[in-house]
C-alpha cells in the first residue's frame, strides 16, 4: 500500500507537470530573430569535478587552478558529492599533492603515491575542534555535513579563486539523488563569482544539499539555519516532510531514499528537489543526472540508476531546471571506462560505455532519441568527474583513472555576451539553451551547426553556399550563425509543410597536438593499418542523425512513458557473456537514424583545420530534429566501431579480470608500462584507450512543421 501511495504521488505529480508542459508547449516560440540575439561565443567548461572536500585528491584551489591555467577552461563549477566529509579541505595540504600553490612543479611531475589529498580533519584543525562542526554526527573524527562545508568554507574559496583567475567559477554539488545515483546541480543564486563584486554566499545551495541529498542524514535543520524543506508549490511533497528534520525523511531512512519499506520514496523526493529548485532558483539552477547509465536500471527499493521515465518526470516537473544529462561520463581513463561495468557497477546499462559515451546516447534510436522524439528540450553534456589520476600523481600526464577538467572532455556552451562580460549566469543560460556541444580529446574545438529553410528564389547551390559561408564564418569566430530562417543547436526552425532545408556544418579539427602525452601511433587505427600519432587525432567523419518528433508522451500512458533500456539480465556488465533484456518501447525512437555521413570525400577543407559541409533535405512534412556526432575512427575498426560507424562497447572482457588479454594491442615500444599486459603483450587500456577513441556530440536542432507536432518551447 505504501509503495502504491508513493508511486501514485510520483506519477500524479508527473502527470500534472507533464500536462503543464504540454500546455506550455504551444504555440511554441520560434528561434529568436537574428537581430534579437546578442553576439556570443562558445566557451569551454566543466561542471562536475571533485576536490578534497569530498573524495577528490586535489584541493579546490589546485583543482580550479588546473582547470583554468593548465587546461584552459573558461568556466568551472566545483561540484563535490553531497553528504559529509571529515577532511578539512580548505586548509594547507599536508601530503603528496604538496603545498598550494606549489613553488615549482617537478619536471617529471610529482611522484605517484597511494595516499592522495590532505588528510587533516576538520576536528583537528578548526579553532574549537569538534564543537565547530554543526549538526548530527557522533563519529570521531566527526565529519562535517557538506551543507556546512559549502556554506562556510567552500564558497569563500571559489569566490576568491574566481576573482583571482578572472573566470566564472562557482559552487555546485554532485548530489546523491534519492532513489537514484548522482546528479550534477548548482544554484547560482547568492553566489557572486567574477565578474561580480561584493560578498556572496552559497546559502541556498547549502540548504538544497541539506534538504535533498540522500547522504545528508542530518536532522538538525542546518543548526542555526532552521531550514524547512517544505515549500509552497509542493502540497503533495510537503505531506512527506518529517516533523523533526523538516525534510522528506523517515525513521530509519533519514535520507528519504528508496527502500523496501518505502518503495519509490527516493524518486519522489528527487522530483520534489527539482520543483524546489524551480521555485527558489528558476534561473540560476540546473539538475543534470550524472553518468546516468553507470549504476544500471532503476530499482524502486534502492538508490540506483535512471530509467527514461525518471528523466521525463524531472523534465516535466521543471523543464528549465532538468534539461539534460551527462551521458558522456568522466573517469574516462579508468580500466572500466567511465567506471561503467566491472566491480562495483555490475549492472551498468548495456555493459559499459560506447566510445566513452553511455548507451542512452550512443544507441541511435535509444533513450536520447526517444526524448528528442517527444520534442523535449533535453541536452547532452560531458564532464570529467576528476578525482585522481590513479597510479599517477596530479602533475603527471598519465592516468589510470580520471582526466582533469578540460584535459580530455569539454562542454562548449554558447554564452551571449552582448555588451557584458562572460558570466556564470550567461553560462547557466547557455547550458539551459541547448546551444552546446561536447567533445573528447579536443577532436574538434569549433562547431557551427545550423539548419536553414531554403529560399526558393535562390538556386539550391546558392542556398548551400550561403549556409556554408555563414557556418564557416561563425566557426572561425567561435560563434553561431545568426540568420533569420535558420536555427542552431537548441533552437527550432518553424517551417511550413513541404519546406526544404539546408543542414550546414562547419567545424575545426585543430592542428597540432592535443593534451595526450603519447605520440606513438594510435593502436586502434593501427588495426586498420593507419599510422596516426595518438596525440594528433584527425576527425574521420561526421554523422548527421535525425528522427521524427511525435509529441510528449503522457505519464498515464505507462507503456510508452516508462521502460528499461540496456538492462542486464545475467552476468556482469562488461562481460561478453552477459545477457540483456530487449529495450522497452518507451525507450526507443524507431524513426531515428543516420541520415548522412560527411568525410574528406564530401566536405570542404580549408586552412586552419576548418571543414565545411552541407546537404539538402527536400519536402519536410513533419516535425523532426537533427543532431551530430563525429569521431576519429572510421567505420569497421575492430572492437571500436561497427560497419555503420556506431561505437562498440568499450571493453569486451571483464574490465578487472587482468588475466585476460585486451582486444587492441599496443605494439609501439613507446606504449607505457601501466597498460594491461598479458604474456608480454601490452593492450590499449586506461588513458591510451581513451585517447585512441574520440568523439563529439552536438545538441539537436529542431525543425517544427506548422500543423505538425509542436516542439517544447525553447527556454532562453
Amino acid at each position: 500500500m505504501k509503495a502504491l501511495d508513493f508511486r501514485n504521488v510520483a506519477y500524479a505529480s508527473a502527470a500534472i507537470c507533464a500536462l503543464g508542459g504540454i500546455l506550455n508547449s504551444g504555440p511554441a516560440a520560434a528561434a529568436s530573430k537574428a537581430k534579437e540575439k546578442a553576439a556570443g561565443a562558445y566557451v569551454t567548461g566543466d561542471f562536475h569535478n571533485h576536490s578534497t572536500c569530498s573524495d577528490g585528491s586535489l584541493s579546490m584551489k589546485k583543482l580550479i587552478d588546473k582547470s583554468v591555467n593548465t587546461w584552459g577552461l573558461d568556466w568551472f563549477v566545483q561540484a563535490d558529492h553531497g553528504g559529509s566529509s571529515a577532511r578539512n579541505c580548505t586548509g594547507l595540504t599536508a601530503n603528496s599533492t604538496g603545498p598550494y600553490p606549489p613553488a615549482t612543479y617537478p619536471s617529471a611531475g610529482q611522484p605517484a603515491t597511494t595516499g592522495k589529498g590532505p588528510n587533516l580533519t576538520w576536528q583537528a584543525t578548526l579553532p574549537n575542534g569538534v564543537v565547530d562542526i554543526k549538526g548530527d554526527g557522533p563519529i570521531n573524527p566527526k565529519a562535517m555535513w557538506r551543507w556546512q562545508e559549502i556554506k562556510e568554507f567552500q564558497y569563500q574559496v571559489t569566490e576568491v579563486e574566481s576573482r583571482r583567475l578572472s573566470k566564472p567559477i562557482w559552487m555546485g554539488v554532485e548530489t546523491n539523488a534519492p532513489g537514484h545515483e548522482h546528479v550534477s546541480m548548482a544554484i547560482l543564486d547568492g553566489q557572486r563569482p567574477w565578474p561580480a563584486t561584493g560578498t556572496g554566499n552559497a546559502n541556498l545551495l547549502a540548504q538544497f544539499e541539506y534538504c535533498f541529498d540522500r547522504s545528508d542524514t542530518d536532522t538538525s535543520r542546518g543548526a542555526e539555519n532552521s531550514w524547512d524543506c517544505a515549500f509552497s508549490s509542493s502540497p503533495t511533497g510537503n505531506k512527506l516532510v518529517d516533523a523533526t528534520s523538516r525534510k522528506i525523511a523517515k525513521a530509519g531512512n533519514l535520507g528519504g531514499n528508496n527502500s523496501a519499506a518505502d518503495p519509490n520514496l527516493g524518486h519522489t523526493k528527487s522530483v520534489e528537489a527539482v520543483k524546489w529548485l524551480n521555485q527558489f532558483a528558476p534561473n540560476g539552477s540546473y539538475y543534470v543526472p550524472a553518468h546516468l547509465e553507470r549504476a544500471g536500471y532503476y530499482d524502486p527499493v534502492a538508490a540506483r540508476g535512471f530509467n527514461i521515465e525518471h528523466l521525463r518526470n524531472f523534465n516535466n516537473a521543471a523543464p528549465q531546471i532538468a534539461f539534460g544529462f551527462e551521458s558522456m561520463p568522466g573517469h574516462q581513463a579508468s580500466l572500466n571506462r567511465g567506471e561503467y561495468g566491472g566491480t562495483g557497477f555490475t549492472r551498468s546499462i548495456a555493459g559499459g560505455t560506447f566510445g566513452g559515451t553511455g548507451y542512452y546516447t550512443a544507441k541511435i534510436g535509444g533513450v536520447w532519441d526517444a526524448l528528442l522524439g517527444e520534442g523535449r528540450n533535453w541536452w547532452f553534456f560531458a564532464s570529467s568527474d576528476y578525482h585522481n589520476r590513479g597510479l599517477f600523481g596530479p602533475d603527471q600526464l598519465e592516468s589510470t583513472q580520471d582526466f582533469q577538467p578540460g584535459e580530455y572532455q569539454r562542454t562548449h556552451v554558447m554564452v551571449r555576451k552582448g555588451s557584458n562580460s562572460l558570466s556564470a549566469q550567461g553560462v547557466t543560460d547557455g547550458l539551459r539553451s541547448g546551444n552546446s556541444f561536447a567533445t573528447s580529446g579536443q577532436l574538434i574545438d569549433r562547431l557551427s551547426f545550423v539548419v536553414c529553410a531554403i529560399n526558393p528564389l535562390l538556386p539550391v547551390k546558392a542556398n548551400t553556399a550561403l549556409v556554408e559561408a555563414a557556418a564557416l564564418n561563425s566557426a572561425k569566430n567561435n560563434a553561431e550563425v545568426r540568420i533569420d530562417g535558420c536555427a542552431t543547436m537548441g533552437e527550432k526552425l518553424v517551417v511550413r509543410p513541404g519546406s526544404s532545408l539546408v543542414v550546414g556544418i562547419a567545424l575545426r579539427d585543430p592542428d597540432g597536438s592535443n593534451f595526450s602525452p603519447y605520440s606513438f601511433p594510435n593502436p586502434s587505427l593501427e588495426l586498420i593499418n593507419v599510422k596516426q600519432p595518438l596525440n594528433q587525432p584527425i576527425l574521420d567523419h561526421v554523422d548527421v542523425i535525425g528522427g521524427d518528433v511525435t509529441g510528449f508522451v503522457s505519464p498515464t500512458n505507462t507503456g510508452a512513458y516508462a521502460g528499461e533500456a540496456g538492462k542486464i539480465l545475467t552476468g556482469t556488465a562488461g562481460d561478453p557473456a552477459a545477457t540483456y533484456k530487449p529495450d522497452d518501447p518507451a525507450t526507443l525512437n524507431p524513426t531515428a537514424r543516420k541520415l548522412k555521413t560527411f568525410n574528406s570525400t564530401n566536405w570542404s577543407a580549408s586552412s586552419g583545420g576548418f571543414r565545411t559541409m552541407s546537404y539538402v533535405v527536400k519536402n519536410v512534412a513533419a516535425t523532426r530534429y537533427f543532431r551530430l556526432r563525429g569521431t576519429n575512427l572510421p567505420p569497421s575498426v575492430p572492437n571500436e566501431t561497427d560497419a555503420d560507424g556506431n561505437p562498440l562497447l568499450d571493453y569486451l572482457v571483464i574490465p578487472f579480470d587482468t588475466t585476460k588479454p585486451g582486444t587492441v594491442p599496443c605494439a609501439s615500444a613507446a606504449c607505457p608500462a601501466h597498460l594491461r599486459t598479458i604474456n608480454g603483450i601490452k593492450y590499449s587500456s586506461f588513458d591510451v584507450a581513451a585517447w585512441a577513441d574520440l568523439w563529439f556530440y552536438s545538441n539537436p536542432v529542431f525543425v517544427q512543421v506548422t500543423g505538425s507536432t509542436s516542439v517544447a518551447s525553447i527556454i532562453k
Binding site: 511554441a28 535562390l458 538556386p459 553556399a465 550561403l466 559561408a469 540568420i483 552541407s614 539538402v616
Partner: protein, 165 residues
C-alpha cells in the same frame, strides 16, 4: 542530331528576328540590354521581396522560372509550390512562429555568355553576389543559368541536375 541543329538555328533566327537583336558569329548571341535588364529587375525584385507575400506569391515571380527548370532536384512545380507556400505562411507568422527563409540582397548581377552553342534554346549565365546582413554579414555568390524563351523573356532554368547536393 541534324534535326536538333535545325531547330536550334531556327529558334535563334526566329528570336533574333522577332526581337531585333544582333546575332553574332560562332553561335554567340547578343541578347538585348532590355531583355537582360527586365530579367535583372524582376529577379532582384523577387529576391528583395522574399519576406513579402505579395511579391513571393505574385505571378511575376513565378514567371521567373522556365517550364523546364531543374535545379539540383527542384522543378518549377517545386519552386512554385514553395513560393505560394511561403506567401501563405508569412502572414500567419505571428501565430505560428513561422521562421521564413533566409533573405539576401543581390548585387553585381551579371547576365553574360549568352549563346546557342549547346543543344536547345539560347542560354545565358547569371552571376551575382549575395549578402545577408541580419546580424553578421555573410557574402557569397550565385551562379545559375537562364534561358531565352520564345516570348523573348529570360528565365531561370537551373543547373539541370536531378539530385540534391
Amino acid at each position: 542530331m541534324k534535326r536538333t541543329r535545325m531547330l536550334r538555328l531556327a529558334t535563334a533566327v526566329l528570336t533574333c528576328g522577332l526581337l531585333l537583336t544582333a546575332c553574332g558569329k560562332s553561335g554567340v548571341v547578343n541578347v538585348s540590354d532590355k531583355q537582360i535588364g527586365d530579367f535583372k529587375a524582376a529577379y532582384t525584385a523577387g529576391v528583395d521581396g522574399t519576406a513579402k507575400p505579395a511579391v513571393i506569391g505574385a505571378a511575376e515571380t513565378q514567371d521567373l522560372y522556365d517550364p523546364a527548370f531543374l535545379d539540383s532536384g527542384f522543378t518549377k512545380t517545386d519552386i512554385v509550390a514553395a513560393l505560394t507556400g511561403e506567401a501563405t505562411a508569412l502572414p500567419n507568422a505571428a501565430t505560428t512562429g513561422h521562421s521564413g527563409v533566409p533573405q539576401v540582397t543581390l548585387s553585381d548581377v551579371v547576365v553574360s555568355n549568352c549563346n546557342n552553342a549547346g543543344p536547345g534554346p539560347i542560354t545565358c549565365s547569371l552571376s551575382a553576389s549575395l549578402t545577408n546582413s541580419d546580424a553578421d554579414t555573410t557574402v557569397t555568390y550565385l551562379n545559375s543559368t537562364l534561358r531565352l524563351s520564345p516570348d523573348g523573356k529570360l528565365r531561370l532554368v537551373g543547373d539541370n541536375l536531378s539530385t540534391t547536393p
